[in-house]
Symmetry: C2
Subunit: 414 residues, 2 copies
């Protein structure tokens, strides 16, 4: 997929290590029996970081979610490291919080930092027994091999059913100082983020207060991660964290204004980029779908309409089958919890092969089925909805529903 | 599937013709190119019927929904006939209401009744052009062959991707009078009823006022059809109607009391029976799933928890694959919009092969995977959730998510 370009921001390599002062590593500690696949990752900042985080709203929460929240409260929003394992979600385990706390203590001891400066996260099977030994036996090795090129090892550690690594980073300028912001994310099922997302860790060397960082994160999550759905299932372990160590040397952002806007845009670009990667690599996906809703009376209405279309199993199957079934799109808008006049809605299908209007004023049009099939035969599909009753707009992202999704999730304990 | 038995109610044959005074018919009028498949159905009552109906809450509504509402308002809740076509939903068509009105007029003329005594319904593709000729050319034939054995022709006419006919009827006694109540329903995709359901027509010879009939229907819809989900997509054309012609000779039910309760239970039995058929025959389904939630602080909480589990794509895939993945069940309870203590939840899996506790106090248990696999290998799966925080309970129904669902809905314009 081609990356969207934004003036003043340049995509760079490095993921979570793109920003100054961050190193990372990953290895197999034995939770995953496949030795070639990392299952334990670490991100470390040489300086303390102002930190923001958002978490899943699922009432069943992974133990690491509970422990990380406590840590950031205790440390006053300051962190130094992220430790994350895959293959076991550490959720619905009686000793879950104990394991997460002990992991943090072990890491803090080796790094010489405080346990409450550790962000701890897990992803994998829910309700599976978890033990401390794999963490304990590999902590020194994990720390000793931290490297500015370690982002690839770290992102490998958080992959589950992902087929591609999800990293993104940009370079930008605040007050003449070169700043960097980058992150890594995991997919690719149980994805329907609600005020947070799938595991996602972002680092930056820009200087920004914890309060303004949280504000920026909350605003951007709403229009990026929370507009993503692979299967409608909101995970128990969703978390996005952003760590800012200030090494870029700009004066710390303490309020809204030009510097805040530049920073927020960088956060938007990286999160948007990763969300699109997550959608395209949704479990079993053969096609990426973006639903663009314009002409809405308000942003929330636009978001709800776009998300409803992206979440519809029937729309997802129609895209998989290359069927320009506009009725299913209208149906999904119709059951969204929004107050709109359905007799004003236009719907257009688009891809690199062209675009075609399939619905006007809420009514189906006769159109060239051949051309529509050609449009839908592409890998990236855009469903453009104009509600024609306002000026707000939003986008939502997802993928088609395929035999592959059923296979992955019908197989034993993915 | 074995039918649930209820004292004082006996299952009988006949569907919509089981009650005295009702006849039915069905034929192919040419909307469906497969000539062996009926696409136009009719149910007729020799006497005027007190009538109740509930409709989809989707804001995109089929033209027949709008027209039927108008008719029942105009007639004061009295109807004589139902006419229904499949293969074209008559939704999002500029001339949709005109077609539905004209169809009603044509039928009323042949039957010698008023157009507003006609309930009109459609199911099929949304946004496809529709013409009056097929209706016009077959109306006399449709009426002339009405028969007390015509229920099979009528139910054949409303089938779409259904693989079995859904009919149910019971016999019961009010004030010593033998009463009958029966119905027919269609599935099997775009099923996530919201205050109504998939097309469903019920007839009875019990005497009951339109007001009490509506009350009974609304109560029963909440705990039957609205607890059914095949794919999370709320159709634009959902409708349930109940016609009561009073021929059983009981004194008309005008208020709550013993007779009302007996009648309401009959409605519950028939609707429950049809809901279970709809779930078992969901698009592509290989397994029927019933989620039973008990120990809830209130009925609404129990319903929401059970529906959330039934609606989860990941739970559905796990059942398809025979994977006792209790984490996905807890996850789905956790993202339901309910206020509960997740640390009290027990989860049990059950089928005719036995039952097994997989989660206790919100934590995953170690259990025999072999026995769990044996349980899940059966065709009818029960997920028993005890919230352990109250006395309310509810059930919800659905099916597994299979390759078949993807195939049906990836194929052209199903």
């Amino acid at each position: 997929m081609e990356k969207e370009q934004f003036d003043g921001y340049k995509y760079i390599e490095g993921g979570v290590c793109a920003a100054a002062g961050f190193t990372a590593n990953g290895l197999n500690c034995g939770i995953n029996p496949v030795k070639e696949k990392n299952d334990l990752g670490l991100v470390y900042s040489e300086k303390p970081c102002n930190t923001a985080a958002v978490y899943t709203r699922n009432k069943v929460k992974g133990a690491p979610i509970i422990v990380t929240k406590k840590h950031l409260e205790k440390s006053g929003g300051v962190s130094r490291a992220v430790i994350v394992n895959s293959k076991n979600a550490n959720t619905c385990n009686p000793n879950g919080e104990e394991i997460a706390e002990e992991t943090s203590r072990l890491l803090a001891d080796v790094l010489g930092i405080k346990p409450e400066e550790v962000i701890v996260a897990s992803t994998g099977v829910i309700g599976m027994p978890i033990y401390i030994e794999p963490f304990k036996n590999h902590m020194e090795e994990l720390v000793n091999s931290l490297s500015v090129n370690g982002n690839k090892e770290a992102v490998n550690a958080i992959m589950t059913t992902d087929t591609i690594q999800k990293e993104s980073a940009v370079e930008f300028v605040i007050e003449g100082k070169s700043c960097h912001l980058g992150g890594m994310a995991k997919g690719s099922g149980m994805i329907h983020p609600d005020m947070a997302t799938t595991l996602n860790f972002i680092t930056t060397d820009a200087a920004i207060s914890a309060e303004m960082l949280q504000k920026a994160l909350s605003e951007i999550v709403k229009i990026t991660y929370n507009c993503l759905s692979v299967d409608g299932d909101t995970s128990t372990n969703d978390m996005v964290s952003v760590m800012a160590n200030g090494l870029a040397g700009n004066s710390q952002i303490m309020a809204e204004g030009e510097s805040y806007n530049i920073f927020k845009q960088a956060l938007y670009i990286v999160m948007l980029d990763m969300v699109k990667m997550l959608a395209a690599d949704g479990e079993g996906a053969s096609k990426f779908i973006e639903c663009r809703c314009s002409g809405a009376p308000g942003t929330d209405t636009a978001i709800k309409a776009a998300k409803s279309v992206i979440g519809s199993s029937l729309v997802k199957c129609a895209v998989f089958g290359g069927d320009a079934n506009c009725g299913r799109i209208l149906c999904a808008i119709g059951y969204a919890d929004i107050d709109i006049d359905v007799l004003k809605i236009d719907v257009e299908l688009e891809s690199c092969a062209g675009k075609i209007l399939v619905c006007k004023d809420g009514m189906g049009l006769e159109f060239s089925e051949d051309f529509a099939a050609k449009i839908l035969a592409e890998k990236e599909i855009y469903i453009n909805i104009n509600l024609n009753q306002g000026n707000a707009s939003a986008r939502a992202w997802g993928c088609d529903l395929t035999y592959g999704y059923v296979k992955i999730n019908g197989d034993y304990r993915s």
